[in-house]
């Protein structure tokens, strides 16, 4: 009779696996079903956006940065615009700030809905995905309304917004908010006390507060582990200090804690949206009044020579940004996000670097899955909400 022997098995998960959220590749070493080590391999989606941005004019970078983290387009463009505006030394109007807050919070709900849908589906709750995408559709309709583009509106521009809010915007957002409160309860009915969901998530993929800090996970993952840090509270921007909202935290640091934190964040975002919407007048100033940066309205371009020249200059040469560097953090759906922007005083950026919260989450993934079961790897990847476009850029 041959001697019984055991050996560990190396399994290649991804890059094309339906639950790796794009193209994440994990080399897992397994002892039976237990994960002994995990080595994430990334870079399959690297498109050199940072290098491309150096060849573009300042305003042309916005569509590029929106495509980095493709689930939080408006947060990206807001972070980029704020860094450039800091270098320009301009102060944007109050109304634009409120609109940006509203759009950023809608984007957060949008991103969390995709996360909840895909995460739910991966742990077996397929109907959650359909429910979440139903409500996300309404948010995409709002994007289509303001910019004609559903995923990457490029609506935020350096110096303000591309154009004024469309007619019917307030009604559309209000209709969404009125509907969404009840729908969020519906999702919670499906998951929060669902026995199967609890068994798949409680105590799974936990990360300690110390590790969350050491691995730089500023965002929902750290908040689920007890780090009460939110850029909107710690370093307020866009007038967030004048809004009334809470920062939800949890202490367990496991998949379930991350779920509760994100669901609570959606409720807080709804509160913020209502407050911001009440402050926004249907029409008004939508960009700074600076002829170097803001193109004139179209009706003036067609009737006035000076406006036509100004329009031509802005669209052919762009504008110059004073030399210097700036990094303005914002709280994106995945955590602290920002663009380290360096200018050499010309009309093109010298360097654009995105702080990618997904990259750090991906790095810490190993800490969360080693020692667990292979089936839990899926639940953990879903719960850290990585966007591979943000990891690889």
């Amino acid at each position: 009779m041959p001697a019984v022997r055991t050996e560990t098995m190396t399994v290649n998960m991804g890059p094309q696996h339906p639950s790796t959220h794009g193209v994440l590749r994990l080399v897992l070493e397994l002892d039976g079903e237990t994960v002994l080590s995990a080595a994430p391999t990334i870079g399959y989606l690297h498109t050199g956006i940072e290098k491309t941005a150096e060849q573009k004019k300042w305003q042309q970078v916005i569509p590029l940065v929106e495509r980095m983290d493709y689930l939080s387009a408006q947060s990206n463009s807001m972070a980029f615009c704020m860094s450039v505006e800091k270098l320009l030394g301009v102060e944007i109007p109050e109304r634009v700030k409120n609109i940006r807050v509203l759009l950023a919070e809608l984007q957060r709900i949008n991103s969390h809905l995709v996360w909840l849908g895909t995460h739910g589906m991966e742990v077996g709750a397929v109907s959650v995905m359909l429910y979440c995408f139903r409500e996300r559709e309404l948010l995409l309709n709002i994007n289509e309304m303001i910019a004609g583009f559903r995923l990457f509106p490029s609506y935020m521009r350096v110096g303000g917004l591309r154009e004024d809010l469309p007619r019917g915007f307030h009604e559309a957002v209000l209709a969404f908010l009125d509907r969404f409160a009840g729908k969020l309860d519906e999702y919670e009915d499906l998951l929060t006390k669902n026995e199967i969901y609890l068994k798949r998530t409680i105590g799974v993929g936990a990360i300690s507060k110390e590790n969350a800090i050491a691995y730089g996970l500023l965002g929902p993952i750290a908040r689920a582990a007890g780090v009460a840090y939110d850029v909107r509270k710690a370093f307020p921007y866009m007038g967030y200090e004048t809004y009334d909202f809470a920062v939800p935290t949890a202490t367990a640091g496991d998949v379930y804690a991350r779920y509760t934190v994100r669901v609570a964040e959606m409720r807080e975002s709804m509160k913020l949206c209502r407050q911001a919407l009440a402050r926004i007048s249907p029409t008004g100033q939508y960009a700074i009044d600076d002829p170097r940066i803001t193109p004139p309205p179209k009706d003036r371009v067609y009737t006035e020579m000076e406006a036509l020249i100004q329009h031509f200059l802005i669209y052919s040469q762009g504008f110059s940004v004073p030399a210097g560097e700036a990094y303005v953090p914002v709280e994106g759906p995945r955590g602290e996000q920002g663009f380290h922007v360096v200018s050499d005083g010309t009309n093109r950026p010298w360097r654009v670097k995105s702080r990618a919260p997904s990259l750090l989450a991906c790095q810490a993934l190993e800490q969360m899955i080693v020692g667990g079961l292979i089936a839990d790897v899926i639940a953990v990847i879903g719960s850290i909400d990585v966007v591979m476009g943000d990891v690889d850029r």
Binding site: E29, E50, Y215, F235, Y327, C362
Partner: protein, 184 residues
């Protein structure tokens, strides 16, 4: 943000290494000499009055053809004191290397790998000094300013790796052992 108070604190912690410069944003900006990065990083994290326990970002900027060519940027956050600091290191173009801080902030591991990948700045003592995003056989460092853009290059593929079954098993085994040693 009271940057002068923070600079006084920094001077108190490690005297005579910080060169403060003006900044337009939240971050107080200081230059430090590259030989003392690890010592300074340790003090920044461990001294309670500084408490920069979060490393938010490591990146680099290439100022080619100026010398010193590279500037390495660390963005640090102290949650407790609600402060931010931008630590910068100047590096010469001929010999860009600096000691790793991944022993102090584990988050630096991949961030430094990305800087190596994109700029060719070496991190001495890094536990895993490989490329992060580009293919491993990539030639050159794409985010350097003298790396050409918008050129046509014939497509190429690396020679397929020819190994025997036995060599393959040995490679897997060696990889495992090295990773276990790295963790332990």
């Amino acid at each position: 943000m009271d940057s002068s108070a923070l600079i006084d604190l920094l001077e108190g912690a490690v005297p005579g290494v910080f060169e403060a410069v003006a900044s337009v944003d939240l971050q107080t900006t200081v230059y430090v000499p590259r030989e003392r990065v690890v010592e300074i990083a340790q003090a920044l994290r461990d001294r309670p009055e500084l408490g920069f326990e979060f490393l938010a970002e490591v990146t680099a900027v290439d100022y080619w053809p100026r010398e010193p060519r590279f500037e390495l940027v660390y963005v640090l956050v102290s949650i407790e004191h609600r402060r931010r600091l931008r630590l910068k290191v100047r590096l010469p173009g001929a010999d860009p290397h600096v000691a790793t801080v991944s022993g102090i902030w584990p988050a630096a591991n991949w961030l430094e790998r990305e800087v190596w990948d994109m700029f060719g700045i070496a991190f001495d003592g890094h536990p895993d000094p490989r490329r992060l995003l580009m293919p491993e056989d990539w030639d050159g460092f794409p985010l350097r300013k003298d790396f050409p853009v918008q050129i046509r290059r014939p497509a190429y593929a690396a020679e397929p790796l020819q190994v025997t079954e036995q060599e393959f098993r040995q490679n897997v085994q060696r990889d495992r052992l090295s990773r276990q040693g790295h963790e332990g």
